[in-house]
Symmetry: C2
């Protein structure tokens, strides 16, 4: 089966084409023409979303849960087509896209179950105290949806962080209509998923304005979307530069809105001495696998390994180099990402004190792993070495001793994850590191690798800037629904006017 | 007893004076000299707060609860002095300040009980699934304090929204050190409360950097505080212009931080026909009392009453005018606020279609009530008539009919509160209004007045911009602690490294 994109936008259930088009740049197969987005289309989608909120924002949790299951069903029904166009557009292997599809439908169904439980409503009740002086009125509180939400998908998860990804699932679960700005790296994959959502919305008899996809092709599409007065919040996964620009637009609005951006992270691993002595080479093997998996194109890719200098560091480096050297070239998601990868490599290898351990040829849209080493002193002296290079590029930082490892931890920027590899003998040092790392990252791991972000209740995918623009939020897991809610207090209202969820 | 201010800053437990001083401008009694704040003092306070966070951020909940109770005790011990200087500085009557002191110590104790319960930690646990493919690691999550917090108190609550007010109580309860920028309207009241906090901190054997008060006197003090790299969030109550300027500085930081500002609100009341027919005059009496209480200097002061035109509107207006006319002049909090009140009055009465119902002489630092009327058409045509005038100024908007009342509701800006006065016969119209008003305000009331903000679990003191800068948050009630927390996920960590709160 070969999917032929129709190339149109999907605005409130209707396919709309524009005269102006742009061409996709797939990893394999023919390019396709896609309608170019415009601010006028954005406005049309936002007006439909605003209109739909008056009903969808008051739909029952059961109705919203049914919609989420229907979307998952409609995506599953298009599984083969999605994998077909998705592999061509992204260069990701079929097995990966099939797994990601499962993750996508799984998280839609998880949110359906989550809202049915109702805990997320955070219902609070303070009874009236009529005899107190002054008397206390009856006060009830619950979380309500905020209104239309804009979503910008990620290049690296064309399904799970895109059109029907975590942001969309959380927003719809909350009761918020969604307007997606399509990612130019996978417009055909995006349009199938959008069609699936529209079919599900129609099947549930809901207002089609609940969902729109505006394809890109022009910079002002995204700018118009985050500045539209009807949009109440933005979910974004992408680059630091692009995310910060949109964050700034949100903050400068006459009425500022929250921008939930998940931006850059190098996800450092700290290898403590006992663990290094006992199993440094096994950790090196694991690291090489985690670092190069999917061409290293994960937000949680562990780009830095901090070790204490000495013979174990030497062996670690040699093992990691050998393992990474065995990884062949992998196709990257877009030409631009491949280009940025090589630029990042040039920046790293041109930095003072950086030694190239593993090099290779890396051209076209391909990535091969690189491995560099630097002393703790040189790393600390050069802030840029702490910045993300998106792709399979590893850096070993050789700290002089445990104190310098602590100093390096303190110098880290905000991260999605920090990882400790440790054995029992490392507990004392780990106890010194924990309070430092806790301030740096949204997720702390022991003896594992950060790639593989579980979608569950306890997950936190976020962290201090620049890992995310809101350190109080997560973009993965059930807690991510909180981004699209606001508390409302009902004082002394008759039952006839209270939301059903406050009466049940 | 007459309290003589020492006039110094309190930085991490030490009184520090500066050569430069400024003079307070009390409502009665002599002015006092206060040390002028500087960016260097701000930096010193922030450095101490950052240092203190390494211990205070890991203090047990019992230790933090004990601190909150000790602060409340120390404030109560200074009750007479606080009332003495507080009445002189603010012009508020003694009974009001005594009540506000009770509210202040009450909310400190409420937060102590709240953190002991532990629900706010939002602990989540996903068990390991070792046999799943791929295996799921063990994941635990809880909310952790964010780090040092800056607090800007309000002029109108020199105790409950100031040095030891709700923002400080919530931040300390969370485990965040606090740096307060003192309000120039009540510097002497502020310094006593700061001394009380410092005594409590010392008495608990805690790091004195947990708390600092930097007095003002220069605009760059507040600007330095919100831009200090150690500050992780800001709590602010004050004017729209001042709040927005600080919000913008927070958003433009290299690492943006959340600014929780509670800004302007006119708190409209909508009077539905059956209620108006049955008890319009009683509502008018109640409104006049709520509107003029404390010279109308409440964030939740109900400045606008929307009625449907006709004989009941006439009677409502006459009764409100008579009741307001009987209110004598009241001294305002500051010269600047009195001046702004008269400017607001001039703006309103110069607007097209506005009719003056009650006028009076209002000079010096005094306020007398004013009452105006305007048709629904004229109100809708002039966006400025929806802006807050801080003080006892009421506006009656005479809607043509129920449809125009709905149109007026839709045209409202974000509010802290919206109030319905209704009887059973009004249910159908109220059901049309509810979804509209819910999007406009953080708190909806029936048959009451919004002044009187209960400190409890279900309270929401916040709302869409400009009522607040973060519609997802409240600045009053136990939910306000969430502003100063961030979720952290612990993956596969040995028990020896987990926070005690995740083991209990």
């Amino acid at each position: 089966m070969s999917y032929q994109p129709h190339g149109q936008h999907l605005i409130a259930g209707e396919r709309i084409g524009t005269e102006a088009t742009w061409h996709s740049s797939p990893a394999s197969g023919p390019a396709h023409a896609f309608s170019t987005g415009t601010p006028a289309l954005v406005a049309q989608a936002c007006a439909a979303a605003e209109r739909a909120f008056w009903t969808f924002g008051h739909a029952t949790r059961a109705e919203r849960a049914a919609l989420l299951h229907a979307i998952a069903d409609a995506i599953e029904a298009r599984g083969a087509e999605i994998t077909d166009i998705g592999t061509r557009e992204s260069g990701l292997p079929a097995a990966r896209l099939e797994g990601e599809r499962g993750r996508t439908t799984g998280q839609l169904r998880l949110f359906a179950e989550h809202i049915l439980k109702g805990d997320y409503l955070d219902r609070r009740f303070d009874a009236a105290l009529p005899d107190r002086q002054p008397p206390r009125p009856e006060l009830r509180m619950m979380q309500r949806p905020i209104g239309p939400v804009a979503v910008f998908g990620a290049s690296n998860f064309p399904l799970a962080f895109s059109v029907a990804g975590g942001d969309t699932a959380a927003a719809l679960a909350a009761g918020c209509p969604v307007v997606v700005k399509g990612h130019s790296a996978h417009p055909g994959t995006g349009e199938i998923v959008a069609d699936a959502i529209a079919e599900a919305v129609a099947g549930q008899g809901m207002d089609p304005g609940i969902f729109s996809l505006v394809q890109g092709g022009r910079r002002d599409v995204g700018e118009a979307l985050v500045q539209d007065p009807r949009i109440r919040a933005v979910g974004f996964t992408g680059s630091l530069a692009g995310g910060r620009a949109l964050f700034d637009l949100c903050a400068r609005r006459p009425d500022p809105i929250p921008f939930f951006g998940e931006l850059g992270s190098v996800n450092p691993m700290l290898l403590l001495p006992s663990a290094m002595a006992a199993r440094g080479e096994a950790i090196a093997q694991g690291w090489a696998g985690s670092l190069s998996m999917g061409a290293g194109q994960f937000c949680t890719n562990p780009g830095i390994a901090v070790v204490i200098d000495g013979p174990e560091a030497e062996a670690f480096s040699a093992t990691a180099s050998a393992a990474l050297g065995a990884v062949g070239p992998q196709v990257m998601l877009t030409d631009g990402i491949a280009d940025a990868y090589r630029k990042g490599r040039d920046r790293v290898r041109g930095s003072a004190g950086v030694r190239e351990v593993l090099t290779s040829v890396c051209d076209l849209r391909n990535a091969t792993p690189y491995l560099y080493e630097v002393s703790g002193d040189d790393w600390l002296a050069n802030h840029e070495l702490g910045e993300e290079v998106f792709g399979p590029l590893g850096m070993i930082v050789r700290a002089r001793d445990a104190d310098q490892m602590l100093e390096i931890a303190r110098a880290l920027e905000g991260q999605l994850t920090c990882t400790l590899h440790l054995d029992e003998g490392d507990t004392a040092l780990a106890r010194q590191l924990m309070p430092v790392l806790e301030r740096k990252a949204g997720r702390l791991l022991a003896n594992g690798f950060p790639t593989g972000v579980e979608v569950c209740d306890a997950m936190v995918h976020g962290g201090p800037y620049p890992a995310s623009t809101n350190f109080g939020a997560t973009s993965v897991g059930t807690l991510s629904i909180r981004r699209f809610l606001r508390p409302v207090c009902y004082q002394n209202l008759p039952e006839a006017l209270l939301p059903a969820d406050l009466l049940g």
